[in-house]
Amino acid sequence: MDGHSSTHTILGSAEPLTAEQRAERLRQLAAWGVDLSLSSAQLGKSPSALLQEWLAFRPFVEAAQREGRIRPHRPR
């Protein structure tokens, strides 16, 4: 979590970058906590496979939401 506190800019922009700048940005994103290996693995799948994978996962989330195990965050 140290990466969060040491980074004051919002990571998540889309401006054109050189290859070197892109590599540096990916290092920053990884330090922030993004799992690049997971992101890379997703890119090896077809859009249909990605959609089906997500749809297969949804019933578990929906059941948890129905049972109140996942709720919108309410600040205490």
């Binding site: 919002i10 990571l11 998540g12 922009s13 889309a14 970058l17 290859a19 892109r22 590599a23 940005r25 990916l26 994103l29 990884a30 922030w32 906590g33 993004v34 799992d35 690049l36 997971l38 992101s39 890379s40 997703q42 890119l43 799948k45 859009p47 249909s48 990605l50 959609l51 997500w54 749809l55 996962f57 949804r58 019933p59 989330v61 929906e62 939401q65």
Partner: protein
Amino acid sequence: MLNPLHLFRLLAREEVEFVLVGGVAMIVQGVTHDTNDIDLYYRRTVANMERLVRAILTLNPRLRVEGLTDDEARLLPWHLDVQALGSMETLTPMTDAGALDLVASLSGIEDYDAIRDDIVDVELDGITMSVLTLRAIIANKRAAARDKNIAALPRIEATLRLREAIAERESSQQSGASDYGDTETHSA
């Protein structure tokens, strides 16, 4: 129960002009993400709204009301038509294919015609879908600036940058292959 493919087939059959945006647009482009609804950005002409309404009506649309179950919401006296759709910038019905966000405007995007260069064609189970690019999704989420939008930005950018790196590598490999091919031709 979400059934986006059924919805997309209905929209394709009615020739609705729309772009898939939001969470599902991120997922089909490889971003690790979850969402409760399907977001559609549609062209706001009367003819297109008629086509959109015709497609959605086959999915028993009803209101999503906080504090009411879906069964209770089905009993409310509400009917989807062009007037109901046109009266709001964003309409959020529940349907038999899942919860929808039907949006007529997007933060950070001037209008429907302005996104022509920010669309990619994505094939989903034989249906070719217009999907908002990750670049435009980032612009949209930065402009909307809700907490959940900001939280998703690093994952979206990571996928965008990895895609760019792959495209660059493939492009340089292709040019390398073509140089090699030329050499072969010359030496033959």
